[in-house]
């Protein structure tokens, strides 16, 4: 591991000042410290933001404000989250292991890096880690890579479960400088896969805000084993049915793209239509029509379709 200087931030402005001088933010460290051991991340200076205030507060409009340093297990166990935003609680508990969830922070979870094999091995080419070096995944190991929104430069997926739930729940990311709809935080790879998000250098996430819940919600994760594995496909959904018709719906997919994939086409197909499995499957087909599977991951299209239909049926 490369040598680095360590300091603990006394507050948000001190953390931002350190970052403006080149320091990298350290949250729980579950991803960053690992990447430092692997030689993938090589910060010269760390500013520890894991002990900044970590509260979960109710907002006047009935929503919830989650401090960026709130640990994943604390967020999952919060009674307000479990009751009002079950998709978020389910997604958090579906992620990582109990030990990792006790360390991982809300802000850090949003900013975790892809687990693409080529990204994680510092001696291999990877446009995300070493821009311009190439992407061996397109023709190589890519059975758990993107089917939507990928580019010639990068076919990696975003690994977070939490972010997928937050995308369906219309969350807002609050940085020290501005507010960003969560669905706009992460970006598609395009020609700059080294940029996971639209955050500026030194921009610090201080909170995530949830609007009041507007329907029942849940999260379903499909993976190779029952626990402690990344998603092949995951689905976060919010649904409100009135008189057999879809009054409101929000669906986000994980494991399929470089960002949490909000299924806007599916949502507009469903709104006002019948709340039936057949219509859920048809809407899923419409959403997935633009999928471009790679050689070894076409299975994700069918899994996504079935998972979407099953989750919406469950919520109906």
């Amino acid at each position: 591991m490369r040598e680095f200087a360590y300091e603990r931030a006394s507050g948000v402005s001190a953390a931002v000042a350190a970052a403006e001088q080149g320091a990298t933010f350290l949250g729980g460290g579950t991803n960053l410290v690992d990447l430092m051991k692997l030689g993938v991340a090589k910060p010269e200076r760390l500013v520890d933001v894991s002990r900044l205030p970590a509260d979960i507060e109710e907002l006047p409009d009935g929503g919830l404000r989650i401090g960026a340093a709130v640990r994943n297990n604390d967020l999952a166990a919060d009674p307000r989250v479990r009751l009002t935003y079950p998709a978020l609680s389910h997604a958090l508990l579906a992620g990582a292991s109990g030990q990792l969830r006790n360390l991982a922070t809300t802000g850090g979870n949003l900013l975790q890096r892809t687990r693409c094999h080529y990204f994680m091995v510092s001696t291999l080419p990877c446009n995300k880690r070493a821009p311009g070096s190439g992407c061996p995944a397109r023709e190589g190991i890519h059975d758990n890579h993107a089917i939507l929104g990928w580019s010639e430069a990068c076919v990696a997926t975003h690994p977070s479960d939490m972010s997928v739930a937050l995308a369906a729940l219309d969350a807002t990311v609050v940085t020290h400088a501005r507010r960003i709809p969560l669905v706009d935080l992460h970006r598609l790879p395009g020609s700059e896969p080294e940029r996971d998000t639209i955050l500026e250098p030194g921009e610090l996430i201080v909170a995530v805000e949830l609007p009041p819940a507007h329907g029942r919600s849940t999260y379903r994760k499909v993976r190779d084993r029952a626990s402690f594995a990344f998603a092949l496909v995951s689905v976060a959904a919010v649904l409100r049915v009135e008189d057999g018709a879809v009054a409101d719906v929000a669906v986000a997919l994980g494991g399929v793209a470089h960002k949490p994939w909000r299924a806007s086409r599916l949502e507009s197909e469903l709104r006002g239509g019948p709340a039936t499995r057949a219509s859920y499957e048809a809407a899923a087909d419409a959403e997935l029509a633009e999928a471009r599977p790679l050689r070894d991951n076409a299975y994700k299209v069918e899994i996504a379709k079935r998972a979407i239909a099953t989750v919406l049926e469950e919520l109906s």
């Binding site: 460290g29 297990n73 292991s97 109990g98 030990q99 990792l100």
Partner: protein, 157 residues
């Protein structure tokens, strides 16, 4: 080599260390404090052999920088026995023959302790399905799960 001073409270005893900032909590425990009960398996947060309780919560000590733990209370497997009596969970692992080689056992026991607290706080059931799910961060390469799970269930009732 950048160093930093850090004070940890390990198993109730205060320890003041000057460490290379790269030192993980696991390496601080094993290499600087001589507490080799916590094991280094994968060193990447995947196997759980390094699990300790940090301020009462189970964590992978291989992914925690020691310098980030100023004034933290750390409990390792060495800190569980009281007055020469094994912790009930340690005793239960023996009674259920919940190990073969034993390398993962300190992590399994510390993780189970943390997990039982988490489930209690959530009001969640302590049953086989939940224990298997919530203990998935602890790998046993001997495959002793069939006895580990009953050992944990044995103390929760």
């Amino acid at each position: 080599m950048p160093t930093a001073d850090v004070t940890l409270v390990v198993n109730g005893a205060r320890a003041a260390l000057t460490l290379d900032t790269r030192t993980t909590l696991l390496d601080a425990l094993r290499e600087h404090l001589g507490l080799t009960g916590s094991k280094k398996g994968c060193d990447h947060g995947q196997c759980g052999a390094c699990t300790v309780l940090l301020d009462g919560r189970r964590v992978n000590s291989c992914l925690v920088l020691a310098v980030a733990c100023e004034d933290a209370e750390v409990t390792t497997i060495e800190g569980l026995a009281r007055n020469g009596e094994l912790h009930p969970l340690q005793q239960s692992f023996i009674e259920h023959d919940a190990f073969q080689c034993g390398y993962c056992t300190p992590g399994q026991i510390c993780s189970a302790l943390g997990m039982l607290d988490e489930l209690r706080a959530e009001g969640a059931p302590v049953d086989e399905h939940t224990v298997r799910d919530r203990m998935s961060g602890n790998i046993c390469r001997c495959g002793a799960y069939v006895n580990i799970v009953p050992a944990i269930l044995g103390v929760s009732s």
